[in-house]
Amino acid sequence: MTPALPLGVAAATLVVSMMLGLRWSRGWLALVVAGALATAVAAVLVLAGAGEWEWRSTFAVGGERLHLRLDALSAMFLLLVGVVGAAGAVYAREYWSDERYPRSAGRGRCWWSALFVSQAAVLLASNGLHFLLAWELFAVCGYFLIVLESRRRDVRAAGWLYLAASHAGTLGLFAFFSALAAQTGSWELGPMREQAALAPLFWLALFGFAVKAGVFPLHIWLPSAHASAPSHVSAVLSGVALKMGVYGLVRFSGWLPLPGAAGWVVISLGAAGALLGIAFALAQNDLKRLLAYSSVENIGVIMIGLGAALLGAARGETSWGRLALAGALLHVWNHGLFKSLLFFGAGSVLHATGTREISRLGGLWRAMPWTAGLFALGAMAVAALPPLNGFVSEWLVYLGLFDGAMGRGAAAWATMPAAIVLAMTGALALATFVKASALVFLGAPRTRAATRAHESGRWMRAPMAGLAAACVALGLAPGLIWPVLARATGVWHPAWGTAEAPGPFGTLGTVHLVLAILMVAAAVGLGRRVHPRGLRRAPTWDCGFAAPSARMQYTSGSFGGVATPWFALVLRPARIQRRPRGYFPADTLHLQRVPETVLEHVIEPVGRAILRGASLARRLQHGRLQFYIAYVGVGLVALGAIAWWGDVR
């Protein structure tokens, strides 16, 4: 079977669902799930070795014939689109239901289908013009999903910022594709590694795709958009939409000839983004903003892998280059899975308590044990802890970096620092996710809202359970997916695909499986050892303090307060403090907040300077005719002078 049939079915069901979604919620869900299933079938067919699929239309759209292409690389991303698209649709049935959001639920369903279709179109398009069309449609769908709850001011601001940043990136892509079309003489895309003159275009593509992927200094739109959007939308934005930027980078770095510095720049961007992204995440108090910054970190990890692969490719180093690339590609899947899971979990918390502030939550495990357990699993996966999937991909990236260092070539000067940064990032991610999971779900409820929390229903739990199962499966059986990774790396670099699986990949899976079984057995065993002896319950001992209160617990600020100051130079935390004064101090105040540093300290000053310049220039435009005549006179004299002196010379 070729992927054409399932893709056709998927397109048909999704387009119908887009049209029916406004009113008919049940039918919409069935159609979207069917469409996602068909998409996944198409992707799996290609990944299982059916070979590349191409299709050209006989008719033209916008003056160009349609050219669709599905190879192992785009199929990897397409499968992720399908999985998260279906999970989010199921989740939204309860989370963004018609009863709770009568005004926006229907719209949300339509845009969801549209986003799904446009993402798939980006992945399939093999013509620059259509790629741009699909890309723009995808960006706009994202905007309308972010501002579903447009009554709220912060949502509108976040949506606006997203739209502005997204279009800045699209501008780069317009320049990229039109320059590409001008130099090659055609909008057709495909491998063009031998045309060395195209190499500088890589920088345009890097800018355009990096904005969408949220690569560090260009991530400014990401935290507020992910935090303010409805949680199922945050999940798809973070889990899938960012990956479209990664897809663009991987795709075109594979197809284009590359400038010599490409690998160095990408790996440096990745290392900076990974470290600073997670430092920002640790400092956050807003649960969803924390997850958003952790996405910046994970994109950084993917960029480290891609950068190492670029360095390896430039030096003809097959052995470690492909490990790093395989790690980066696997991390695309892994991050898509566990970050969607975590955003769904955060959405359940928001649904149950009405707040995203970690310092107002606590003790939720009693009311919502399912969410707590699944969120904890996701937290362990994102902290790259074995035996879960996050570790497998980071392990591959590490192996690539270590092998690169052992090669003792010039590339080692990039891979050694990157490995050290990756270690620091991993430990910070652990701190961040201990904080995110334990302060929210453990201890005593810090506010009344947290006391009155309730478990979310079946429709919200099922997609979380499904994603968690996928995280566990990828962690325990990494050997099964090596052929997929090999095919995808083979598409990126034709010489890399045929290589054998690295031997230990299977061993790692076995070790993971044994560890997982032993961990469960030990937990159950210790529980059984303890229970027959009678569990006594008592207040927390706390060194004998008799009246512990929930307000005494460590908060998110105090938990992050040890490591955050190490990064104060970049984070620039703002603090408002009024110390207690006198013998009977009446009031004190301590407020601490980490700003959106790049936005507030870099972009906004630059924007203000531009506006100031513009308002200065506007003084020339005052509507007084005699001055305009004077301008014309001065202009004529200047022109005359130029002509005169030019002529004389």
């Binding site: 270690a423 996710f433 319950r537 001992w541 490591a563």
Partner: protein, 302 residues
């Protein structure tokens, strides 16, 4: 049949010998202070007694409070089995096992911190926050040390990495790893394992609310972690893999004993540092490992 027996023997060595190290450290401290001190086997008695005791749980604790120590203990045991025991070799050995080793220790850290935060106690929150934050610097130093060994030996498998001597940077590497050992195992000057009731603790304060068998599991895990770091340090520095089995076993045992004595001496002669100086000390450890890495880089080519 033989590999199974070997693995069991290796496991028994780890499980049975580990609780001896804290006892030896206490002996050294008592000897320096001129006291009699607790018997060297005190931890064994404590573990046996705790294992038989009942448990008092906080009202706030979820099932994760019991699962945390159990999972953490399995992770530490797994890390121990990955580490080769001189001539005894490692339980499982594959390319890249060293990274699994580092991340298994991270699993244990996650579980300890998680279980600490179960109780909603301010003290335990404090301990957990410090543990996970200082571990950032310790892990960086550890990975740098491992990178040094890999560049030196051209391998990412623990067994081959640890076999030869550390080369030119051995002293730097030993100093760096020793500092990491002290930090990761919460010894002086980073932490003081003797006191419980202070605001200055890291590890001990995280297990304040554990009792009975879970506490036994936590203590045993901590002892194994100390032994893991001691064994790693000795094998990283000494050319254990190049000696004959008997001599190698002797050197390994002597080395671990030496490290234990060193910890005891440091603990007797040094006061605990102020917290603001802990990051500085760990950064120094990282820099030592970094210089060792540069030396390995320069030296290997010659």
């Amino acid at each position: 049949m033989m590999p199974l027996v070997e693995s069991l023997l290796r496991l028994l060595v780890w499980l049975l010998l580990a609780p001896l190290l804290p006892g030896l450290i206490n002996q050294v401290k008592a000897w320096v202070a001129g006291r009699r001190g607790p018997p060297a086997l005190q931890l064994y008695y404590d573990l046996a007694r705790l294992w038989r005791k009942g448990v008092v749980l906080s009202h706030l604790a979820s099932p994760g409070f019991l699962a945390g120590p159990a999972v953490g203990w399995v992770a530490i045991t797994g890390a121990a089995l990955l580490l080769p025991l001189g001539p005894g070799g490692g339980g499982v050995s594959f390319r890249g096992d060293v990274l699994l080793f580092v991340y298994l220790l991270a699993v244990a850290r996650f579980c300890t911190a998680w279980a600490a935060l179960e109780t909603g106690s301010a003290f335990e929150g404090m301990g957990a926050a410090r543990e996970v934050s200082f571990a950032v610097l310790a892990e960086v130093a550890l990975i740098t040390a491992i990178l040094t060994l890999s560049v030196q030996s051209g391998s990412v498998t623990l067994a081959t990495m640890l076999a030869p001597a550390a080369g030119a940077g051995a002293v730097l590497l030993a100093a760096g790893l020793f500092a990491v050992l002290l930090a990761e195992n919460c010894r002086v000057p980073f932490d003081d394992p003797n006191t419980h009731l202070e605001l200055t603790m890291i590890h001990e304060v995280m297990v304040l609310d554990h009792s009975g068998p879970p506490l036994a599991v936590v203590l045993h895990g901590a002892a194994m972690k100390l032994m893991i770091f001691a064994v790693l340090l000795v094998q990283a520095v000494l050319p254990i893999g190049t000696l004959s089995p008997v001599v190698a076993a002797g050197w390994l045992a002597g080395g671990v004993l030496g490290v234990t004595l060193g910890v005891g001496l440091v603990e007797s002669l040094l006061a605990r540092f102020a917290f603001r100086r802990v990051p500085l000390l760990l950064t120094t450890a990282f820099l030592l490992c970094l210089f060792a890495l540069l030396l390995a880089w320069k030296g290997g080519g010659a």
